[in-house]
Amino acid sequence: MIRSRHRLAAAVGALAAVATVVGCGSDSGGSGGQAGPPQPGGTLRYGLSQAPTCSDPAQAASNQTIYVARQIVDSLTDQDPETGAITPWLAKSWQVSPDAKVFTFELADGVTFSDGTALTADSVRDTFDATVKLGGAKAALAVSYLTNYVGTTAVDKLTARVEFSQPNAQFLQATSTPQLGILAQSTNAEPAEARCAGDNIGSGPFTYTSWKQDSSATLAKRVGYTWGSAVFGHQGEAYLDKIEFTVVPESGVRTGSLASGQLDAISDALPQDAPQIEATGGRVLSTSNPGTPFGFQLNVTRGPLRDQAVRQALLPALDRKQLVDTVLGPQFKYATGSLASATPAYLDQSARLAYDPAKAEAALDQAGWLPGADGIRTKNGERLSFSVTFSQVFAGNQAILELTQQQLRQIGVDLKLDLVSGPESTAKMNTKDYDSFYGNSTRADGDILRTSFALTGRNLSARGPIPALDEALDKQLATNDPAARAELLATVQKLVLDNGLYLPTIELSQAIGVAGHTQDVKFEASARLQFFDTWLSGH
């Protein structure tokens, strides 16, 4: 979708055990085994569904932007898409202080940026300092990862110490994101706007060779690249000589171009496009986004949703399986908790969300909401009716919500759909002017719960203090031990449903169409593309 996205190497195993990262991707780029050994060379022609907004990884927010920018920048750490574990990349190792305020990274030696300058502890400091200077308006994600940033000290040439004034356990995972990728001084010294023009210098396996705003971007292989992440499928240089990204907004044209051999891979292949892609030997790769699944953030200050019993009763009222089967197709999953299943520290709450209209009705009866003449329940003259504000950021939203409307109608709840434009949606979000708000957020860390539900976070449910929840949200940010942190995040996930703050529906999936000769297009942990291992057979 538009949006989106831990610690001592020794702790990695423990995290993996606890994190329960459910298989990332049903078919993440498998080459089918018949393609033979990877062949270097060739140009991958990729069709983006939207124009990247800016070439700067630090300012990248939309998926299509990240697909491009990710390739030119390396991060301090990487995240294993299978286990959610944080693994070395530019940093060979790291230590986190017990209070989760100080992070010390030991950098790999011999890494250079594509302008020839060397990666040092100063590069880390300059990158983070420059990111904070970009500001939240330009680099919303990056700056949110650096909340309470005090500064970075170059302890020696290859040791960087990052300090925060408050505990910030999520920071370690954040160092694996492209937004906090390490850039060369020549880029860090530039103002925000100039960093969008396609001459950003990173140490990544590809470099920019051209950037045409709203139209295309071309990347070339970085010759001599030897410092790939341990998560990568091979070491050394990337296989592809070049990647040409072209913006092809119309999905039928993307699919037709893929099927007719004018493109090698495309973004956002729609379910109805899959047969055409498969007919020509291609495949649709998919993976579920980690983060919060799609769902209703229920505004606890308005209408019938003020009543916690109503919010609770809605949880078993939705037939989520039907939503997926009817509207989306097999590459999608229905939501089974307040986090998406691919998120580290995800807690399976499927029993709680199981479809049980009788239970929902009984709960509403008990709370005094009784069916009126038109079938809609009322209490003290108030109708059990609320609206959901949403935008078409995801093509399936409208159909999902129409079906949800029918399902809720069956238990006597009147749902009104309020489709708004992107700008209007943001305006309403900022003023909390809605009964409920529909959306999702992608991030491969449970801290997304704090971003979405904390009083200091987005808090679209407009809730007041809930001490147990607030405490768990704060504490997980101060806890380095992955097991202990997962436990706190489990508490948060339960409390979010207990308090009826969230009504989850489905998980977002990425669907990438690839031609038959395109091999090993891989999803990284946040369900974004990594082209380092990608190669073309028979070119």
């Binding site: 308006a137 709203d214 007719s260 959306g439 971003t451």
Partner: protein, 345 residues
């Protein structure tokens, strides 16, 4: 003549100012704030940092009172500075400058195809004396206007790009890359042209002088070519402004379908992102094009048909006489044409 040109130029300036002011008011009256939108990083769930928003609003001058913003923007616009895109940080003039050439190329080829196609169709429909052919050909323009551009584009792509591999499906440049999108864009424009031109031809055929010419032994084709076409092209020329409008609107769809960079795409993305400086730049550009085209038409009319300025001018009796000589009234035109027809035949 100087007075005529002067008044037209003043009118053009007034229209540009009005377009600027109205678009400014409308855009700033919209419910959302473009900066919070940009700061939201596409709604990723992070709370918007108020300080950062305030900082950025200050950078774009959005924290000032509306009248001050207006005057600043107007002043800057007059010096050719349209500000920067809130989303990409690119100067608006640069974004528009990049978008104009591909759209101009597309529009020029589309116009050429439309004029050729529309003329052939109108000529054929009015020239033939077989009723069934005439009826079929006359039905084509309404069909051409009513087919959605989007659909035409996809259909052409399906056949000529995906199946036959003759043309690239997206991002094309050069003649090969521009032909399909231009054809898509030319269809509704050519249809309108054909309709207007056919009506004009039809009407002119009913003028008595055609009978004179035919009676003198001229062939239908000769009469059509030498006399009727010139007269009938005036109304077609008049709708140039409308055609430019159709073309700008059509480019939004065509450029999206064919994944071409251009003014249409720029308009679409900046409207979606509510990138006010860019939207306003596009509005100004459109106004400029409209004004330019209408001005050009107004100034060219006298060359095509001297009656048009003749009716406006009152000062010089001599010029009036001159224009009368070349046919001020319809009757005069008809008679001179008839006389010419008689002579030529």
């Amino acid at each position: 003549m100087v007075g005529y040109v002067g008044s037209r130029v003043l009118q053009a300036i007034w229209v540009l100012w009005a377009a600027f002011t109205i678009s400014f008011l409308v855009l700033y009256a919209l419910p959302s704030d473009p900066v919070s939108m940009a700061a939201d990083g596409a709604g990723l769930g992070t709370p918007v940092d108020k300080a950062a928003v305030a900082q950025m609003q200050a950078r774009y001058g959005l924290d000032k009172p509306l009248w001050e913003q207006y005057l600043t923007a107007l002043g800057n616009a007059l010096t050719g500075d349209l500000g920067r895109s809130i989303n990409t940080g690119q100067p608006v003039t640069e974004a528009i400058g990049d978008a104009v050439p591909p759209t101009v190329g597309l529009a020029a080829l589309a116009l050429l195809l439309a004029v050729i196609g529309g003329t052939i169709l109108a000529f054929a429909a009015t020239y033939t004396q077989r009723p069934w052919l005439r009826n079929t050909l006359s039905a084509a323009p309404p069909l051409g206007v009513s087919v959605p551009t989007f659909w035409t584009g996809l259909l052409l792509l399906q056949l000529f790009s995906f199946r036959l591999h003759w043309f690239p499906a997206f991002g094309g440049t050069g003649l090969r890359g521009t032909l399909l999108p231009a054809l898509t864009l030319a269809l509704p424009i050519g249809a309108v042209l054909a309709q207007v031109l056919a009506a004009g031809l039809e009407q002119t055929w009913r003028q008595p002088f055609t009978d004179v010419a035919l009676a003198k032994g001229a062939s239908r084709w000769w009469v059509q070519r030498r006399h009727i076409a010139r007269l009938a092209s005036v109304p077609a020329f008049t709708i140039a402004g409308v055609l430019v409008g159709t073309m700008l609107a059509g480019s939004v769809v065509v450029e999206s379908v064919f994944a071409r960079a251009g003014v249409g795409r720029l308009t679409q993305t900046s409207v979606l992102n509510q990138d006010i400086p860019v939207v306003q730049g596009v509005v100004l550009l459109s106004a400029l094009i409209f004004v330019g085209v209408n001005l050009a038409v107004d100034l060219l009319y006298p060359l095509l048909d001297p009656r048009i300025t003749g009716t406006r001018r009152t000062r010089s009796a001599r010029t009036r006489v001159d224009s009368t000589a070349s046919g001020v009234t319809s009757v005069a035109t008809t008679s001179t044409d008839a006389a010419k027809a008689a002579r030529d035949a």
